[in-house]
């Protein structure tokens, strides 16, 4: 049984601790993740901007990396969802198309893997803080990840989950959107942080480092003390595995 880690470029380069948390957490449940190093990036940035040829270049590293995997787990809903675009990208290339269909069927976002595949909602974590949850757009709307993170959070002892007002509103990242339409993006992230402040939560938890990076950036800019964590990091810290 080969279970592989799809690290995502963001976690690889900027937030390696998220990947580490995933690896250790899953190891504690008997899942030894392997890491095929040829993977680079799912290709979202170029795909979303309409540069599909460039996207195929990046996507091929992902398809190659996981060719022999049984399960692929990723700490990002948007990167996992990107894989669903691969059949469309390679529709004219039977070799890559086959790999694309296979990868689509075996790739899971982290909470999907824990809950749907492993059947785990209680990892034995203790995290006595006030926490609010931001559901990332691609993960929740497009991939359909809605109940899994809530199921996991509700089993964490001592954790007080406060609902985030207008939680399903986009945080304003949108990849190149944040750079190209920076003022609109800025207005959106400011609104998101306003809502987070309303909850008076100590911790903001989420499933996608792109959103969390974006929100954390504005929180810091405004001098707010809210801690921003990926759910994998929160659970790992809560389990206290060292």
């Amino acid at each position: 049984m080969k279970v592989s880690l799809f690290i995502t470029c963001l976690s690889d380069a900027i937030y390696p601790r998220v990947g580490e948390a995933m690896v250790r957490l899953l190891a504690a449940h008997g899942v030894q993740l392997d890491f095929p190093p040829v993977q680079t990036c799912c290709g979202q940035p170029s795909y979303n901007s309409g540069y599909w040829e460039e996207t195929r270049t990046a996507a091929k590293t992902i398809l190659k990396a996981f060719e022999s995997s049984d399960f692929v787990v990723s700490p990002s809903g948007s990167c996992t969802y990107m894989v669903h675009h691969y059949p469309e990208l390679f529709k004219d290339d039977p070799y890559w198309l086959k790999l694309a269909h296979e990868l689509e069927a075996k790739t899971y976002e982290f909470t999907q893997f824990l809950v749907q595949v492993l059947g785990i909602t209680d990892v034995g974590a203790h995290f006595p803080y006030k926490v609010t949850y931001h559901p990332s757009c691609h993960g929740s709307r497009l991939l359909g990840v809605k109940e899994e993170p809530i199921a996991l959070l509700s089993q964490v002892r001592g954790l007080e989950l406060v609902p985030l007002p207008f939680a399903e509103d986009c945080c304003g990242f949108g990849g190149t959107f944040a750079v190209k339409m920076s003022d609109i993006s800025g207005a959106m992230v400011e609104e998101k942080v306003d809502h987070i402040k309303e909850t008076e939560a100590q911790v903001l938890v989420g499933l996608d480092m792109a959103c969390l990076m974006n929100i954390a950036g504005n929180l810091r800019h405004r001098g707010e003390q809210v801690r921003v964590m990926h759910l994998a990091e929160l659970l790992y810290e809560g389990v206290g595995v060292s």
């Binding site: 049984m1 690290i7 470029c9 976690s11 690889d12 380069a13 900027i14 937030y15 390696p16 990947g19 250790r24 190891a27 504690a28 449940h29 008997g30 030894q32 392997d34 890491f35 190093p37 680079t40 990036c41 940035p45 979303n48 901007s49 309409g50 540069y51 460039e54 990046a58 091929k60 995997s69 049984d70 399960f71 296979e102 069927a105 075996k106 492993l118 059947g119 757009c137 691609h138 709307r141 497009l142 509103d169 986009c170 990242f173 190149t176 944040a178 750079v179 190209k180 339409m181 920076s182 003022d183 609109i184 993006s185 800025g186 959106m188 400011e190 609104e191 950036g217 810091r220 595995v241």
Partner: protein
């Protein structure tokens, strides 16, 4: 001049103006929140919303896929009902037909009910140039007509105006001071428009749906002005987008379930009117002469295009506007065309056949997908925005610097060793600008981003650099998988193989 109304410049520039207009933002935010929570409540109360959406989608897909049959059927039936039907491939043709009718009827005044198609055609301007008084009768449309502006929302056109601005406009119209009180202002418009309804030569309407099997047209409204416009003047002209067809009255029930709930959270609009031909000879009211002008104006371009044909499903409810975070912040005028919000972002370039010019709009989206989720007929708007962006690039209208950047991205991402090297170099390069574990530098692409954020730097060691150590460490401390979990995973693999998807590691 209302800054939110200028159509100069790019979407980004207009959006910038809108973002600085606090009233506009608050007004749009307040209204869209009310409308979207109304929709959520109404659809939840009704229940089985997903099944209704799918039904609506199938009916519209079916009709569009057989549009030659249904449109032809509609036209033949409408003619049999006594309606004069006309065809307008574009704005010029439609305007020409309207002006021909108006001229020959020696019309001095036209009273209009809401029609987005008429906005597309800018028909009011043509009529006014010919010296024909043209009055919008929908309260919101009347207000913006006085202001000389276009609508900023498909359903609530004057969302961007506050009561003081409205009072000022109506006071000027009335020739007397009117207080900023909704009841009084609406009362004035009611009285004023009564005279116009009763005296107008021509009533001009849009068309929400046309029933193919009986040649009828259906109008949804809350004020009663569309009923006025189709009851009192002697001549009626209806402007209809060629795709606004459904096969039967039975199908209308599905649309009547989806449209009002999606638009305003209502179970049904106060008035829904089914009009089948002009008045019967002995009837005491209703138009003696009725015209329906079927408008193409770029719609048929979407037919046969597997990526955009579904655009024609649209029932113009505005639900996508109400959930769009971008629209909420920048308002309708920033989009620069007749249609705003997510539907506008796709429809405008599609209808204009000119992807290059309208690129700006397709970029004003974070692709969050809220629009597609809200759409009662399941149009995949967020996917269409990406297709628009791709077509722009394919046709060579992409931004040169961005294209270069993307090529660089591809070169980097083609090879993991190359990526690793780039990260190492990046780490060195960022050293001078990292302070207190953050980057606040505001130059180049970081300028906009760092206006609102402190950026996280590249980590000291990437995940892949740490992998060796991490992997060995976890192997040492790992626990074995329990049998139950193993069985679950095996089961999933078996199911996957059974459904024909091969691949994976077979032990």
């Amino acid at each position: 001049m209302n800054p939110a109304q200028s159509t100069q410049g790019t979407v980004k520039e207009r959006a910038g103006v809108a973002l600085n207009n606090d009233f506009l933002r608050n007004a749009v935010k307040f209204t869209t929140e009310r409308l979207r929570s109304g929709k959520q409540a109404a659809s939840a109360e009704h229940g089985n919303w997903e099944e209704w959406r799918e039904r609506g989608r199938q009916i519209r897909l079916h009709t569009i896929a057989h549009l030659d049959y249904y449109l032809n059927l509609f036209v033949d039936n409408a003619r049999k009902n006594g309606v004069h039907v006309h065809f307008a491939p574009d704005t010029a043709a439609a305007t020409d037909i309207v002006m021909t009718i108006a001229r020959n009827k020696q019309a001095e005044s036209v009273v209009k009910s809401k029609s987005m198609v008429s906005e597309e055609l800018h028909i009011n301007r043509a009529l006014e140039l010919a010296g024909i008084e043209t009055i919008e009768s929908d309260l919101g449309e009347y207000i913006i007509q006085l202001a000389g502006e276009g609508p900023s929302h498909i359903v609530i056109p004057a969302i961007h105006k506050n009561r003081y601005q409205i009072a000022e406009l109506l006071s000027e119209d009335a020739g007397e001071e009117l207080p900023p009180d909704t009841t009084i202002l609406a009362g004035y418009v009611r009285r004023k428009l009564r005279e116009k309804f009763l005296g107008a030569d021509i009533g001009m309407t849009g068309c929400n749906f046309a029933i193919a099997e009986t040649g009828s047209m259906v109008l949804f409204e809350n004020e009663g002005n569309a009923r006025m416009v189709t009851t009192l003047p002697k001549t009626q002209i209806t402007l209809m987008g060629m795709e606004r067809i459904i096969p039967s009255w039975e199908d209308l029930e599905v649309m009547a379930t989806l449209l009002p709930r999606s638009a305003t959270g209502q179970r049904l609009t106060m008035y829904m009117s089914g009009i089948t031909g002009p008045k019967r000879t002995a009837d005491g009211d209703g138009p003696e002469e009725m015209h329906i002008i079927i408008v193409d104006n770029g719609r048929s371009e979407q037919l046969g295009d597997s990526e955009f044909q579904e655009l024609l499903n649209c029932i113009r409810c505005g639900a996508c506007l109400n959930v769009c975070p971008v629209y909420r912040h920048i308002g309708g005028h920033s989009y620069g065309g007749t249609y705003s919000g997510p539907i506008g972002a796709v429809l405008t370039p599609a209808l204009n056949r000119n992807v290059a010019e309208w690129d700006d709009i397709a970029n004003a989206s974070s692709l969050c997908g809220a629009c597609s989720e809200a759409c009662p007929v399941k149009i995949p708007l967020h996917d269409m925005l990406v297709y628009l962006r791709r077509r722009k690039v394919e046709r060579g209208h992409g931004n040169r610097w961005e294209a270069l950047g993307m090529k660089g991205f591809a070169v980097l991402m083609a090879n993991s060793k190359r990526l690793n090297l780039a990260l190492k170099m990046g780490r060195i390069a960022q050293k001078p600008v990292v302070h207190n574990k953050g980057i606040t530098l505001k130059i180049g692409p970081l300028k906009g981003w760092n206006t609102y954020r402190v950026t996280s730097p590249i980590a000291d060691h990437s995940f892949r650099e740490n992998w060796q150590e991490l992997s060995e460490d976890t192997r040492r401390t790992a626990r074995p998988m329990n049998a139950e979990t193993w069985d679950r995973m095996e089961q999933i693999l078996r199911q996957r193989r059974a459904s024909g998807i091969q691949g994976g590691h077979h032990e």
